[in-house]
Symmetry: C2
Subunit: 309 residues, 2 copies
Amino acid sequence: MNFSDSITVLAPATVANVVCGFDVLGFALNEPNDTMHLRLTEQPGVVIINEDDYDLPTEPTRNVAGAALLALLRAVPEAVGVEVRINKTIKPGSGIGSSAASAAGAVVGANRLLGERFSKAELVDFAMYGEEVASGVRHADNIAPGIYGGVTLIRATTPLPDIVPLAAPPLFVTVVHPQIEIKTSHARQILKEHVPLKDAIKQWGNVAGLVAGLLQSDYDLIGRSLEDVIIEPVRSILIPGFAEVKARSREAGALGGGISGSGPSLFMLSREEATAQAVEVVMREVYTSLGLDHHTYLTTINQQGCRIS
Amino acid sequence: MNFSDSITVLAPATVANVVCGFDVLGFALNEPNDTMHLRLTEQPGVVIINEDDYDLPTEPTRNVAGAALLALLRAVPEAVGVEVRINKTIKPGSGIGSSAASAAGAVVGANRLLGERFSKAELVDFAMYGEEVASGVRHADNIAPGIYGGVTLIRATTPLPDIVPLAAPPLFVTVVHPQIEIKTSHARQILKEHVPLKDAIKQWGNVAGLVAGLLQSDYDLIGRSLEDVIIEPVRSILIPGFAEVKARSREAGALGGGISGSGPSLFMLSREEATAQAVEVVMREVYTSLGLDHHTYLTTINQQGCRIS
């Protein structure tokens, strides 16, 4: 064990669900990123030091990064601890994987300090304990792309995460975060527990189409498949400006898009950078006209997940 | 118009649903095939001549091939008719796309006689009128692979069929047809109109996994994804021997499989021919021990759909 090394991890924002892939698809963004500094400690356990202004809990069992690290340390036989200093840029509650970035960054960093002893699938499993702290659900659709990079399919999460990286053609991503608050837990509660079979069939036709479109670099198919008949009609009600952003972004040439995770952020995919810029203008106009504070990102898909420097 | 030419079409059996892709996935088989002879007639309309012993209706509006041909002829401005002589080898009600073979073969043949004026997607649309006669539902999951060949995704059927051919690695297919009768319409009626969202999520994770497995030639992923938590638990009750065939085929090395269409035929996919042969032995043993007449096929995926000679 080397207790003097300190490493820095850039943990990316991520877009979960990807319209038709509720709970099974996600991708990582090149911007924004959280910055985390980790080092091993002789004292077992986890020490969380928040260096940002978000006033997140520092008690490890109540902190997303802490819970993920405690899960990882349970699989480490040596007496060792981890100290992590966290500078979050990804605003909690924005819908672009803020909690997943903390969890993924923490376990990726600790794994490097411990000599890369765990597989990516094991890291996803540890990090899901962090998501459980944040939302009550051990979901992996932000965690997996944060750790694997690119677009990932989470085919199943039990007994172990079955993560399938999906090679995707170049895509530009425009994200808008309107500054309203939606709790992931609330966004889950409003979903119906049962869905019409005919809608489920449409959904799995679209998710199959999206996977085929990504793997075959068929942009038109990607666009046609970005349709959600189950989750979006319920959740979009919570997001002012949703319908207008979506319609006007398509008019501007976007392939399609929708709610990022459980919102309130919205994302749009474009084939060309100029289109993604036009979409950013649309997003700003919609939220300016609604008088809502907002922040936009124009970025691309992060192919490597958390980066260590 | 050339009213003297006659052509022969081999219309393949097909496997719809492919376990996790209810109503959206299907593939074509190299065996068995129906044989159909078509020629144009000066007399408008459709003439059906059944040359087999299945006693199917000959009135065009009540015959699967007839309804499909009438739909096609409505899109033909010239005064012309089609006569089709049908020799079915694919037993009606077997669950391997008997009605779809009649519908697909008819429109593929007529299109050739008319100078290939319709696209494959248009032919699917015409042929679906045939499926409507057979089962009351305009579904395309047997029609599409019968016309395109290979494995096909039917992303959507309205407003027009959106068919996505999926390149698949070499696969051996073992099929058993236990000689019991299941009506497609009954097999649909017993399905629940609503499904738990959590099951739907598992299903679209699996269908996404199957598409990725096929396109990436990942046999293990194909095998893991061949899981159906929605349709199979309901329909398998109608098929004696189902659980035993499935379990023992997996033990014999099959990647996986399940009900072909709405049954009663079962199919299993294998990577190696020897495995597919072992699966055929298993299938025969199970139905022999149950005292049920049965027929097996050991074949591969038909890559071209209906063949014209």
